[in-house]
């Protein structure tokens, strides 16, 4: 529980009027924060003529926009693309970042520091600088307009590696030694003994990686060419421009792009928040 809150509880069980004001302001602030989302949903339920009616609750809500947008299957395709890319990259990161982080944390060998610093230094290189070489590389290797083309830059990250290394350092060496004595090989030790001990870190990494890839825009915009391969953000952007500014359709598209993450959040809120906190503390 929060230290300050506990403090307050201990101090006095009377509800200070200041606290009520604070709560109210915070609550109103929270509602203001989600107002854009509310308007987005509300507009998606309005027909073209009603867009100019700016009430939050639509006068005659209709699902027509959703039917129209979903009917040609584009959004479903883009959703699938985003999911495929995000899941694959997440799995790859969970595997490789953990493996490298573990190796750097638990093995002693010459060159360890060098490798660690080298990997860490890549954090300083912004992806915007690499995009042009990546594009040309992909162009020459035929990776343009392919799932691999979208995924390859993010398969391993220094941030994830750093995070996992921090967590693995907290794993007691005794557990690993015991496993070695039992005759397990190093890979099995990592996979079966060390990994289960850092599940909070793994879930944090997975959440961040998934979120980052699900909402990624810049690189997918550059590397994809055919509409069938767009990820959801890129598809939504092209859809919005294509729609020649029919706001109710654009809002519907934006809503469709947002609903999945909202649902995931609803179910995994606790893990997500905990993951963010963990990352921040160790970062």
């Amino acid at each position: 529980m929060s230290t300050q809150a506990t403090e307050l509880r201990l101090n006095a069980s009377r509800i200070r009027p200041g606290l009520i004001i604070t709560w109210t302001l915070l609550f109103i602030g929270g509602l203001i924060m989600v107002t854009p989302l509310l308007y987005m949903f509300s507009t998606s339920l309005k027909s073209a003529g009603q867009v100019y009616d700016l009430r939050l609750i639509p006068a005659a809500p209709t699902f027509d926009n959703y039917i129209k947008v979903l009917s040609d299957g584009r959004f479903a395709r883009w959703f699938f693309n985003s999911a495929l890319v995000a899941i694959t990259v997440t799995l790859s990161n969970v595997f490789f970042d953990s493996l490298v982080g573990y190796t750097l944390a638990k093995f002693q060998f010459r060159g360890r520091q060098l490798v660690f610093i080298a990997i860490l230094s890549t954090l300083m290189i912004p992806t915007e600088m690499l995009v042009i070489p990546w594009y040309l590389m992909s162009s020459q290797l035929g990776w343009l307009d392919s799932y691999w083309g979208i995924m390859f830059p993010g398969m391993m990250t220094a941030f994830g590696t750093f995070l996992m290394k921090q967590f693995f350092e907290g794993v007691p060496d005794d557990f690993l030694e015991a496993a070695r004595v039992d005759g397990l090989n190093e890979f099995t030790i990592w996979w079966k003994v060390a990994m289960p001990l850092v599940t909070p870190a793994i879930s944090a990494l997975a959440i961040f990686t998934f979120l980052g890839n699900w909402t990624a825009f810049f690189w997918p915009l550059i590397v994809t060419t055919s509409r069938e391969l767009y990820t959801l953000p890129v598809g939504l952007s092209s859809f919005a421009v294509e729609q020649s500014i029919q706001w109710e359709m654009i809002m519907t598209g934006a809503a469709l792009a947002t609903i999945p993450t909202l649902l995931v959040f609803l179910f995994f809120q606790r893990y997500i928040v905990r993951g963010v906190m963990l990352a921040g503390l160790k970062g």
């Binding site: 343009l144 055919s226 509409r227 092209s238 421009v241 020649s244 500014i245």
Partner: protein
């Protein structure tokens, strides 16, 4: 045993598929994203594949802003398309990038092209060779909202003065002076910059570019044209740049009485049900001088297409520039057929929607762009400086002229 027979059957089936797959040639067609054109092309591809079962065509599209780069980059990597669409004004850039190959005169004889297509097709001729053929051409016209005009009791304008009059009478504002329905859309990023360049400048007595292709609008005529246009917002207050974000959005929503746009907008305006709309030729000036801007996207054959693919590409190109394809394009997109015979049919000439565009084609001019995106941007910035920064039209015009001339010089130097 049964498994073995099944496997054998599977193997036979797979090898059969491999054989037939090997015989089918796949070619790629590239164009930029514009919903109705993509749809039209989907239809044409379907027709073509049905008639040519040994050829499959894959359509690949890009956002407009990246199109040129992606085409050139792919060509540099040896993965260019077999057939691609390009704006006639990009031909020089594309040639430098080695993107296109000249059309084989045996398959596409020049004299046949020149007799069958509108004369503006020569803009994609270099030397004796054609580098592409258009499916459709476009010109500009004035769209008007019949309902709004009737309400105000006015008829569609025939001259510039009438235009201002109609716009004034159809503009609606709210209590605070904000426009709630504009008389005419102001969207320089749309087609208005073409209207200004090839129509207004000429109607006020000047020319946009001289015979060598240099900027020639930085004079009295160009200034009057710019003042007329910007005056619509600053002075007469019959329009607002950025209203409803884009001019065609305002018109579609029924919140603009008039808009100047091209034939390609017909496909987008067709679904409008809330009001009836009509089309008239662009207004003439007080002396009755009319002008118009015609342009087109041509389809060319990629430099990397050889052998089978080239043959397939040529077949496809011939189909998409055939009368049949042009008819489909006209229906779905609204762009006019590039072949005279297909365009100037009695039906089309009598059609109240197509006729003004066709008439406009007769006296239309086609700007020879050297860097279309850059030149377009200088025009947009010119108007923005007047609207947003309060710069005088004279100064803004001069600034734009020198900026555009610099672009032209840079492009020529390459």
């Amino acid at each position: 045993m049964r498994i073995r027979t099944m496997l054998a059957g599977l193997a036979a089936g797979l090898s059969l598929m491999a054989v037939t797959a090997a015989q089918a040639v796949e070619i790629q067609y590239w164009q930029y994203v514009f919903e109705t054109r993509v749809n039209a092309m989907d239809q044409l591809i379907k027709n073509f594949e049905a008639a040519n079962p040994d050829i499959t065509v894959k359509q690949v599209t890009f956002p407009y802003a990246d199109y040129q780069t992606k085409v050139i980059a792919s060509q540099a990597a040896g993965q260019g398309p077999d057939v691609l669409q390009f704006f006639y004004g990009w031909l020089d850039q594309f040639q430098k990038g080695g993107v296109l190959q000249p059309l084989d005169p045996a398959v596409f004889p020049s004299d046949k092209i020149e007799s069958e297509f509108f004369p503006i097709v020569t803009a994609v001729k270099r030397g004796d060779s054609y580098y592409g053929l258009p499916t459709a051409v476009r010109s500009l016209a004035l769209f008007y909202n019949k309902k709004l005009l009737d309400e105000a009791g006015v008829k569609p304008p025939q001259t510039l003065d009438e235009l201002v009059d109609v716009a004034t009478k159809t503009t609606k504002t709210d209590g605070g002076g904000n426009i709630t329905s504009e008389g005419i859309t102001l969207d320089f990023a749309g087609q208005d910059h073409q209207w200004w360049r090839e129509v207004l400048v000429r109607q006020f007595g000047g020319v946009p570019y001289d015979a060598d292709g240099n900027v020639a609008y930085n004079d009295e005529a160009g200034l009057k044209a710019l003042e007329f246009y910007t005056g619509l917002q600053t002075d007469k207050k019959v329009g607002l740049a950025g209203f409803m974000d884009e001019g065609q959005a305002a018109f579609k929503a029924g919140l603009a009485a008039m808009t100047i746009d091209g034939t390609f907008r017909l496909g987008a305006f067709k679904p409008i049900t809330d009001f009836e709309w009509g089309v008239v030729e662009l207004p003439a000036n007080a002396d009755g001088l009319r002008s118009n801007y015609a342009s087109y996207f041509a389809n060319g054959i990629g430099a990397g297409a050889t052998g089978e693919k080239k043959a397939a590409a040529e077949k496809f190109l011939a189909y998409i520039t055939s009368d049949e394809a042009m008819k489909v394009w006209l229906d779905v997109v609204g762009e006019l057929p590039a072949r005279r015979a297909a365009a100037l049919t009695d039906a089309n000439l009598a059609d109240p929607i197509y006729a003004p565009f066709l008439k406009g084609l007769d006296y239309a001019k086609t700007t020879q762009f050297l860097d279309e995106a850059g030149q377009r941007q200088t025009a947009i910035d010119m108007v923005n400086r007047v609207f947003l920064e309060g710069q005088s039209p004279k100064d803004s015009l001069a600034q734009a002229a020198s900026a555009e001339q610099a672009i032209i010089d840079a492009a020529k130097a390459k």
